[in-house]
Amino acid sequence: MTASRLATGGSAIDRSRPIRFSFDGATVHGFAGDTIASALLAGDIAVVGRSFKYHRPRGIWGAGVEEPNALVDVGGPRATPNTRATTEPARDGLVAKSVNATPNALADRNAFLDRFSRFIPAAFYYKTFMWPDWHMFEPRIRAMAGLGKVDTDWTSPGTSDQINHHCDVLVVGAGPAGLAAARLAAGTGLSVMLVDDQPKPGGSLGHRAGGIDGKPAAVWVEETVAELTAGGHLILPSTTAFGIYDHNLVGLNQRHPDGRPDTLWRVRPRQIVLATGAIERPLPFANNDLPGILSADAALAYLRRHAVLVGRRIVVATNNDSAYEVAGALAEAGAEVTLVDIRREGMPATPAKVRLIKGRALAAANGKLRVEGVTLDDGTRLDADCVLVSGGWTPTIHLFGQARGKLAWSEARAAFLPGDPVDGIAVVGAAAGAVSLSEVFANSAKAVASFGQTKAAMPRSTGPEATGGITAAWPMPGSKGRIWIDYQNDVTVKDVELAARENFVSVEHLKRYTTLGMATDQGKTSNLPGLALMAGITGRTVPEVGTTTYRPPFTPVPLASFSGARAGELMAPVRRLPLESVHRDSGALFQEYGGWLRPAHYGGRDAGADGAIQYEALRARQSVALFDGSTLGKIEVIGPQVAEFVDFIYYNTMSTLKPGRCRYGFMLSENGVVFDDGVLVRLDEHRFIVSCSSSHVAAVHARLEEWRQDRFGRDAVHIHNATAEMATLTVSGPNARKLLQTLDFGLSLDDADLPHMAIGHGTYAGDEVRIARVSFTGDRSYEISIRADRAEPLWAHLRQAGQAFDATVIGLEALMILRAEKGFIVIGKDTDGTTLPHDLGLEGPRAKRQTEFVGRRSLFTEEASRGDRLQLVGLTVPQGEAPLPTGAHGIRRSDGKLHSQGFVTSSYQSPTLGRPVALGLIERGAARHGEAIEIQHLGKVRTATIAAPCAFDPAGERLHA
C-alpha cells in the first residue's frame, strides 16, 4: 500500500491547521479534522497493531465505530486504552501507542506465535493448561493476553457530568434518514433531540454521492441542521447512544472536542427513531486480515472526508452494488482500479477508468506485513498495494435488539432487519434496509407520520440513487487457507468448524467457545459472517442459527461517565455533626460510625489513641463529661392513635408511659429479632419522640411509616423525622447537675422536678431546649436538645462552665467503655441476626403482654423457646490480664473436639475498675453466672468467668448520686 494525501479536497480537514502527534514513537503529521486513523493512512503507516492471539500484523479496516483492528492506547490527560483510531480525533501533541505489540506494531516480538497457529485453535488454552492446574499457567498467559495497557498512574482531570433529559422525539443518527426524521418530527411541533457519533452531522452524505431538493447533499445537511437549531431542538454531535434500557431510557455518551471528560446523558424520550445506518462486512478469502485490506466504504470516506488516497494499484472486491461508486471515485482520484465482482450479471454500470472482472472472487491476499497482491479463485494473480472489500451491509440494529426487538431475516438484503415493531421505537433508513435516498426519505416520513401532522415537506432525492443488489458471499466450510472472521479475537473459519465438530452449534455456545464477537468491537463486522458460516456447516438457514443477545454498550463507554461525581468522598457521603468544626478545633480525631463522622476521641497525639480514650473514660466517672450525641435518632410520632401505635411498634408496653416521662425499649423485626433499642419520650397524650440508634434512623423511620400506612392509616398517626433539626449535647457524671445549674434554662433541675427518665422543657438564649434525664453511661446524665444551628454557643457555654468542675469532652470510644462497664448493649454489636429480646434478659413483655406487637408470634416458636439459646452475659478475667479479644469463642470440649458455645461481643480495659470488662453471647449464659469458661482466639485458650452483664454500680445508685 502506498497511501498518500491528495493536494486538494477533504471536507472534514482544515489544511490551515496542521497538527503533529506521535504513534509508537514516530511523528505523524495531519490536519485538524483528521482522526488518528486518517492521519496514519495519509502517512502510509500500514501496520497499526497486532492481533489478540496470534500477534498478526493488522492495519486499519474501517472509518468508524466498527473498527476491529486499529486500537491504540492514547496517553495524556484523556488517557484511554484500546481507543479506536478511526473515531479518535487526532490532536496536536497526542501520544498514541499500538496495542498488543512489544516494542511496537511493526516489530512485535510475539509475532512468532503466528507460526504455531495451527497448534493454537479455539479453546486451546482451556484444554491444554487444565492439568495439573490452570492457576499454574494463568499468570503467564494473562501477561500475554489482553490488548491495551491501563495507565495506573492516571488520575482524572475532572468529573464527568451526568444529565437527565427528556424530549418528545430522540433521533439516533444524523445521516439522511435521521436528519429527515428529525426535520419532519420538528414540523409536527414536537421537541426533538438528534444525536450522532460523528463530529459532524450528515452520516453517509459526508462521502456518498447524492443530491437533495435540488442541492448538493452537504448543503441540504447544513440547512437542515440550521433549521433544527433555530427551532430550539438539541443536536449533539460526537455523542453515542450506547444503550436502550427498561421503559425506553436511552444512555448517551458525549465526547467533547475541548478535552473535558465525557458527559453521560440519561434521556427519556416519548418516541425513539433509530437511524443508525449500516456497517460494511468483509469478504472471506485467505489472509483477509493483511494490512492494506480495507472496507471499501471506509476508503471512500477517507478519500472524500480526509483527501487520503489509500493506494495506487487497488483491487476492489465485492458482491454488491455499493462498491461501484467507490471504485469509480478512486479511479477518478488517480488510482489504477480493478473491480472484482462475484456476480456475472445484474450489476450497475462499470465506472469510467475501472477494469471489471466479473464472476470471480478473491481466493487469497498475498504479502507479509502488508498486502502485495491477490489471487483470484481461477488462480489469476493481480498485483495490488491495497485491497478494498465490500461483503454487503449489516444494518446497525443493536439498540433495537437491546429493546428486545425481534429481527427478521431478509434474503434480498442478506441481512437481519428489524422485525415486529417495539412500542415507542421506529427504525428508519439503512438500519431498516433502505438503500436509495428516495426509499430512505419515504421510510422516515412513514415513521414520523404517526407522531402527528407535519408542516415540513418530505425531502426529495434529486441526485444519483444507490441500488442494493447483492449476492450473498458467506465464509464456506472447507475453504483453503486461513480466513479471518473476527479480526480482533483472531477467530478463523477453522475455529468455527472446530466448534461445530465439538457440537458447540448454538450461536451462544459458538460465541463463548471461539470468542467470536466478544472483543471490544463486539463483532460489528464479524457476527453475521460467523453465524452464516455455522449455518452452512450445520445445514441450517441463517435465521435458524439466529443471533446472540444484544446488550449495552454499543461501543465502550468510560467508567468515569457512569460514576460521574459519585467518586471519592461522594461515593458514600458521610453525615456530619453540626459542631464538627468546633470538635476539630478541640483536637478531635474523627471516625465514621454507622454513616456518621463523629469524634472518636479528643487529643491523644501524645498519649496515643488508647491513652486518650482511657483518660476520657476515667475522667467521665470522676467528675463530669461532655458528649455530642446529636446523631441520636429523634423521630416524632403524633396523632390520635399514637399510643396504640407505639404499643404495636415496641416490644415493651409504652402506652402506660406518663407525659413528660421516658422509657427504654426494644423494637423487634417480625421474625422476633431485636432490631433497635432506645428511649421513647412521651411529650403529651398524643405525641412521642422515638429516639433510636444513630445508624438506624432511616431504617426505623421507614418501618414506622410502613406500619403507619399499612395498619393504622394516615389520619391515625403522623411521623416526622427531626433527627437533623436538633443537636443533642450530653452532660454526664457525678457533677452533671452542678455544672448545669450554673446555666439558666428556666427550669428546675431538682430531682423532685426532673427525676431520672423524665424530661423538662426550658430555654437557652431564647431558644427552646428539651432536657432528658436518660443515661447511656450509668451516671447521672442530661441530654439537652436544641436547634442544630444554635448548638454552638450552648456547647461553648457548657465547656466554659465545665472548667470549674474539671469537665472532659469525650468521644465515642470512651462512651463505648462506659456503657460496656454498665452492660448496656449496642444492637448489631452485642446482638446478631438471631438475638431475641429474652436472650438479653428482657423476658417480661413476652410473658405478660396481651396486646399485639411486631414480632410477637416469632417469640413463641420452638426455636425461640430452646433451652440452649445464646444469652447476654458479662465475662471477667483476673486483674492484670489483657482484655479478651472481641469475637473470641467460648468453647466446650467433648469427644476430643472443640465446640463453640458463644462469643465475646464487646471487650475493653476499664480504667475505673482497673480490669478488663467484656460482654458476650453465651449458651445458657443467664443461668451460669460464676461459672468458668474457656475462651479461644486464634488457637490460644484463656479462662474467663461468666458474670452479670453489669460490671459497675449494679445497684444503679450513681444515676441519682
Partner: protein, 88 residues
C-alpha cells in the same frame, strides 16, 4: 432503568423506590396463629412469572403503594395508594 408511577408524585426513576413485598400478604395477629401460617407470612413469596401485584415504597415521598406490573416484560399495568384514598 424503569419508570414507576408513584400515585402521589407521578412517574419517577426506579432508583427512588424500594420493593415492599407481595401485595395481599395479610398479617395474622396473635400468639395462636398456626406456625406454618406465620412462616408463610414471614417467608413464602409467590414470585410469579407475568402479572404481579406488589407493594412498593417511593423513598423520596415516603409513601407505600400497590403496583401491578409484569415481571417478564416489565410493563407497569397500574398503581394505587394503599388505602385507595383520593389523591390529587
Amino acid at each position: 432503568m424503569q419508570l414507576f408511577p408513584c400515585p402521589f408524585c407521578g412517574p419517577r426513576d426506579e432508583t427512588e423506590f424500594h420493593y415492599g413485598g407481595d401485595a395481599g400478604n395479610a398479617r395474622p395477629d396473635g400468639t395462636q396463629v398456626p406456625i406454618d401460617r406465620w412462616a408463610n407470612y414471614l417467608y413464602l413469596r409467590s414470585n410469579p412469572k407475568g402479572t404481579a401485584r406488589e407493594i412498593w415504597v417511593h423513598m423520596t415521598c415516603g409513601e407505600f403503594f400497590v403496583m401491578d406490573r409484569d415481571t417478564v416484560t416489565h410493563n407497569v399495568l397500574s398503581s394505587a395508594t394503599l388505602g385507595g384514598e383520593h389523591v390529587a
